[in-house]
Symmetry: D2
Subunit: 347 residues, 4 copies
C-alpha cells in the first residue's frame, strides 16, 4: 500500500505540533514537508523537544508533492493559501475557522473580516466525522471544528436531532490552558493561570456560531437558543462541557427507565462512531488525555426535568489535531481510527 504524502502548514503552534506527532507515527502517512515561517530552517526537535529524535526540518514553504495539506494557520490566514492548494489538486484539512461557517455573513460579525471566497464555504465540509462522515470522505476541503464546538455539538446532537429538548440550551465549558495556544499572554502566564479559575468571552465566543450552525442543521424546527460560556482551568489539556436543556414532557418515560432510554438513544446515535463513548458515570478529562476519544454522559435531573449532558475530550486531539487526522482517514478511505488508537496515558 502506498503511503499518503502529507504536509503541515505552520507547525509551530500546539495544533501544528500535535499534527506532526500524530502524522509521523501514522502507519499510512509519510509526513514529507512542514512549514513555519518564524522558525524556517530550524529542526522541529529544536522547537518541540518531543521531536528531538527525529530529523524534520521546518521549511518556509511546502516543498514537496503532497496528497493532503493540514493548515494550522491562524484565522484569516488560511483563507490566503487554501484556494491555491485546492487548485493544485491538494486536499486540505484546515484547522482554522476560515471555512467552518456556511453563512459568509457571520465572518464580519464574529471574525471582523469579509470572507473573500464565499464559494469555498459551500464546498467546504464541516469536519465532524460523527455528523458528516460521507461528505468528508469525498471532500476536497474539510474545515476542522473548534475544540469547544466539538465537545458541545457531540454532547447535544442526539437531543437536538430527536427533538428531546426545548430550545433553551446552556453550554458551560471548562478548558485547559493549551487551548489558548503557544502565543504568550498574561492570561496564560504560569503564575497567573495556576491556582485559578475564570470565565471569559462572556460577550460571545467565536465557537458559538459553529455550534449553532451544526445543531440547527440537525433539526431545523428547533431553533436552539444557546448560551455558551467558556472557562479556563489550571491544567494543560482537556475540555469538559456541561450542557443543560429542559426535557420535553412526552419524549422519555417518567420513571427510572428514562435514564436507560436516554443512554440507549445516545449509543444508537453514535453506534458507528469509534471515538465516542457513552459513559455510565461522569467522565473526567484525564480519561482521554492524549487520545482522540470524546466521552459523553447524559443524565436527567428529575427534580427539574432538565437534561444534563457532560462531554469531555483532549482539546489538542479530538478537539484539534486528532480530529483532523480522523478526517484524513475518511478522506483516504482508511479505517477511521488508523493511527489514533493509543490509550490514554494515566494518571
Amino acid at each position: 500500500m502506498s503511503q499518503i504524502k502529507a504536509g503541515i502548514i505552520n507547525v509551530t503552534g500546539y495544533i501544528g505540533a500535535e499534527l506532526a506527532r500524530l502524522l509521523c507515527q501514522h502507519p499510512r502517512v509519510k509526513l514529507v514537508t512542514i512549514t513555519g515561517r518564524s522558525a524556517a530552517g530550524q529542526r522541529l526537535g529544536d522547537v518541540f523537544p518531543n521531536f528531538a529524535g527525529t530529523d524534520y526540518i521546518i521549511k518556509a514553504e511546502l516543498d514537496s508533492e503532497i496528497d493532503i495539506a493540514f493548515s494550522a494557520m491562524p484565522h484569516k490566514s488560511s483563507i490566503d493559501i487554501v484556494p491555491s492548494l485546492l487548485k493544485e489538486g491538494i486536499r486540505v484539512v484546515d484547522a482554522s475557522a476560515d471555512f467552518r461557517l456556511k453563512n459568509a455573513d457571520e465572518y464580519p460579525k464574529w471574525y471582523g473580516f469579509t470572507h473573500p471566497s464565499p464559494e469555498l464555504l459551500k464546498e467546504a465540509v464541516f469536519g465532524l466525522p460523527e455528523l458528516h462522515r460521507e461528505k468528508i470522505a469525498s471532500a476536497s476541503l474539510v474545515a476542522n471544528p473548534g475544540c469547544y464546538s466539538t465537545s458541545a455539538i457531540l454532547a447535544l446532537a442526539p437531543l437536538v436531532k430527536e427533538g428531546l429538548i426545548y430550545p433553551d440550551i446552556v453550554v458551560d465549558s471548562k478548558s485547559g490552558v493549551s487551548g489558548a495556544g503557544r502565543t504568550l499572554s498574561l492570561t496564560t502566564h504560569y503564575s497567573e493561570a495556576n491556582e485559578d479559575v475564570c470565565a471569559y468571552s462572556l460577550e460571545g465566543h467565536r465557537h458559538l456560531p459553529e455550534i449553532e450552525q451544526e445543531l440547527e442543521a440537525l433539526n431545523p424546527t428547533l431553533s436552539p437558543s444557546i448560551t455558551f460560556v467558556p472557562h479556563l482551568v489550571p491544567m494543560t489539556r482537556g475540555i469538559l462541557s456541561t450542557c443543560y436543556a429542559k426535557l420535553r414532557d412526552d419524549k422519555l418515560p417518567k420513571d427510572a427507565k428514562a435514564e436507560k432510554k436516554l443512554s440507549q438513544l445516545y449509543r444508537q446515535f453514535y453506534k458507528h462512531a469509534p471515538f465516542v463513548q457513552i459513559t455510565t458515570k461522569p467522565p473526567h478529562t484525564k480519561h482521554v488525555w492524549g487520545t482522540n476519544y470524546c466521552l459523553i454522559y447524559p443524565t436527567i435531573d428529575s427534580k427539574t426535568n432538565r437534561l444534563i449532558v457532560i462531554s469531555c475530550l483532549d482539546n489538542l486531539v479530538k478537539g484539534g489535531a486528532g480530529q483532523a487526522v480522523q478526517n484524513m482517514n475518511l478522506m483516504f478511505d482508511l479505517p477511521e481510527n488508523t493511527g489514533l488508537e493509543a490509550l490514554a496515558i494515566y494518571p
Copy 2:
C-alpha cells in the same frame, strides 16, 4: 475592651484549621480552647505546620469557659453537641449542615437521618450575613452556610428578590480540591486530581436544598427550579459559580443601559455588604485567595436574553471559616470585617 473567648470543636479538618488561623489573629478574640479527638494531646503546630510558631494544644474536650463555640464537626455529629453548648449559654456557629435547613423533612432525604432536634432548626439562623444580618446579631445558634451555597445564593439573591428572572435556574460551580476536606480518598489523591476536571454529585448535591430554601424565602412567588452541578478543578482553594437564568422581558431596558442597570441593582442590593464586590469584568478565584470576599459579575447574553452571573470566593474563607468569623463579629456587635481585612496574596 474585653476579648471574646472562643473555642473550636474539631480543629483537625481544613475548616477547623482555617478557623484557628483567623481567630488566633483576630484583634478581639482570645482562642482559649481547641478540640480534636483523634489528635488530642498534640500541638496544633504538629498537625498544621502553619501554626508551628504557636503554643496551642489540641484537647479532647472544650476545657475553658468560652463565649462562643465554633463547631467544625462533620454532619450529623454537631447535632449531638450543640444543644448542650446552648444550654450552658455558649453561643454557637456551626459549620456543619445540621442546622441549615428549616424543614426537618429534608434531613432524611438529603442526609439520611431524622433530625433529633427540629425545634432548634427554628431557632437557628442561616449564617449568610448579606441576607440575615440582624437575625444573626441576636442569634444563639448560627448555621454557617455551605461553600457552594454561599456562592450561588449571593450570585442569585438580587435577581430572585427583584423578580428579574424566570424560575429556571442553572448553577454550574467549579471548586478547588480543598472543598473535599482533609479525609483521604482516591478522588483527592494528587495523581488523580491533578490535570483533571470532572463533574460530580449529578444525582443531587447536598448544598442544593440550602440554595432553594434561601432563594425561595427571598421571593415566595418565584418557585425557582434549580439545577446545580458541582465540578472539581485542579487547584487547592476557590469556588467559581456560573449561574444562568432567563431574563423577564419587562424588567430591564432593551438597550445598552441594561448592563449598567443590572450592575447598579447588584450594588444597591449589596450596599451594606463589606465583603461583596460587584466587578465590571469576569472575576477570578485567584483574586480572593485567602480572603473573605465574594466577587460577583452579573451580565446579559443579549442574543438569548439570558442573565449570566458569575461569583467567586475562597471556599475555606467566605465559603467556611471566614464567614463563620463574620457571623461572630455580628453576634458580638463588632464591625463586620474585624479580623478579616487581609488582602489576597497574589499571585
Copy 3:
C-alpha cells in the same frame, strides 16, 4: 511470528496499570492474564478508566499459560511468588526491590526482613539494559530497577566507569507524585502536595543501595560515597536528578574542549542505548512525558571543577513499566524498542 504470552501480577497499582497499557499495545505481546486480589472480578476499565474500551478482567490468580510474568507486587510480597513461577518455567520481570540487591545482608538493613531466597539474588539480573544487556537477554529473573536508581545510575555510570570523578557524589532528585503510588496518604493528598516542594527520606532512601551496588560494580576501585536526597514536586509524572561530583584533574582538558569531550564520552558510553539521549541543553521532565527515554545532560562547573550531570525520565515508564518491557524485549530477542517508540505527548 508467534506472540509472547504475558501476565501481570497486581495490575491495580500505577506500575501495574502502566505495564498493562504498554503490553496491550505491544505488537509482539498478547496480554493473556492480569491479577489483582482486591479488585478480582472487576473489569480493568472500571479500575483504570483509560482501559474503558478494552475487555480485560482482573483475576485473583494467573489463569493462563504465559511465557513471562511481570510482578508489580509490593516489596516483600514478590519473594513469595517468584520462585514458583520460575519453577514452572515462566520468566519473570519483577518490579519490586526483592531481587535487586546482590548482597542478602542489605535486606534486613534497608527493608527490614531476612531474604528467604538468597540463592535467587545471584541468579537475578539487575534490569538496567544500558549496563546489563547481554545478561538480561538470557535471564530467567530480571529485577527491574527503582525509578530514582535508573535516573542516578544512568547519569553517573560513564563518569564512574571512566574514573573521571572523586568518590564524593551528591544525587539530588525531584520526583512527581505518582512515584508514591496509588495508596492514599496525607503526603499525596491533593491539597497538601499541590503548590509545595519538600525533601524526604533524609535518613536514607531505599534506592540508595541499588545505586551504590551498580556504580561500585562499574569501577571497584572508586568506592563512591553517595548522598542521595529525593524531593517531591507538584506534578504527576517525571524524575529529574541533578548529580554532583568533583572532576579529577587529569581526566579532561582544561579548556573549552572539556565540555565537548565530556559529551562525547557520554555518547560513546551509550552508543548502543536507544533510549538514552545526551542533550546539549538542560533537559525537562516534560520532554519525556509518557516515553521510555532518559535524557542526560553532563556539564562542567569550571569555577569549582565540579561535574554536574542532569538526567530525567518518566518515573512510570523508563523508571518502571517501560523499562520492564524493554527488558522483556531483550529476553525475547526483540528489537529493544519494540512497543516503546511513542513520542512524548507535548505540552
Copy 4:
C-alpha cells in the same frame, strides 16, 4: 506615633505588588506614592486585582514626600535613581542587585555593565537582617538580597561561621515560577511550565556571587567553593534549597548526639532572628506560603559524614518584599516583625 511615609518605585512587577500588599497593611506605614511608568495613571487595583478595594493610583514619578523608597526597578535601572533619592535624604531599600555586591569588578562579569557608583557599593548594606541587623538599622541604602541568596546564605551561615564544613559546597535550589517575574516568556508559559521540572543557569546564576560574598565574609579562612544550581518547579511561590557539604571530623560528636548538637548550634546562631525557625523534620515550602519565615532543617548523612541543610521560604516575601519590609522595620527602629506576623495560609 507618626507613620513612616513610604513610596514604591515600579510597583507593576510581582515584587512591587507584594511590597504594596505588605506596606498598605503595615500598622506603622503610610504608603503615599507608587510609581510604574508603563501603567502610570492606572488604578493599582486594575493592574493587580487583589487591590481592587483600594484607591492607589500608579504615578509616573514619586510625587509625595517620603521617608523611605522601595525600588523594585530591574537590575541596572535602580542605579540611575538611587543616588538622587539618597541626596534628597530619602532612605532606600533596593530590591535589585545593583548594590548587593561589594566588589565593583563583579558587575561586568555577572551583569554585563560597569558600575557607575562604586562608592555607593561601600555604603550600601546587604539587607539580610539575620547577619547585618545593626548595620541595616543605621543604613541609608539597603541592598535587599536575591531570593535564592537568602535561602542559601541562611542555610549555610552557621556552618561556615563555625567552620564545621570543608569548602566544597553544593546548593541545589527549587523555585516556584513567580521567581521569574511577570514578564512573559515561553519558559513561564503555563502549558510549558506545568507538569515539568528543569534546571537552568547551569553556566552560573547571578545570585552566586552574593552567596559567595556573604559566606566568605563570615569566615575568611574557609574560601568556600560553591556550585549553585537553580531549578524551576510547577508552583507559583516558594524556594527550597538543599545544601550539601562535608563535615569536618573534629567538629561534632561521632554519635547520636551530633544531630542534636547541630540543631542547637543553629538555634543559637539564630536566637535573635524572629523569622528563622529550625525544624526537626524536613520543611515544606507550603508551610511558609505568604509569610516572611525561613525554615531550616540541618541534618547529617552519617554514612558519608556529609551535612545536608534544607531551607525554604516564600520567594516573594522572605525572598523579596517581606525581607525589604523587615529591613525597613530595623531602619526605623520598629520591632523586626511589625506588619509581618501573618500566619501562612494553609493548605
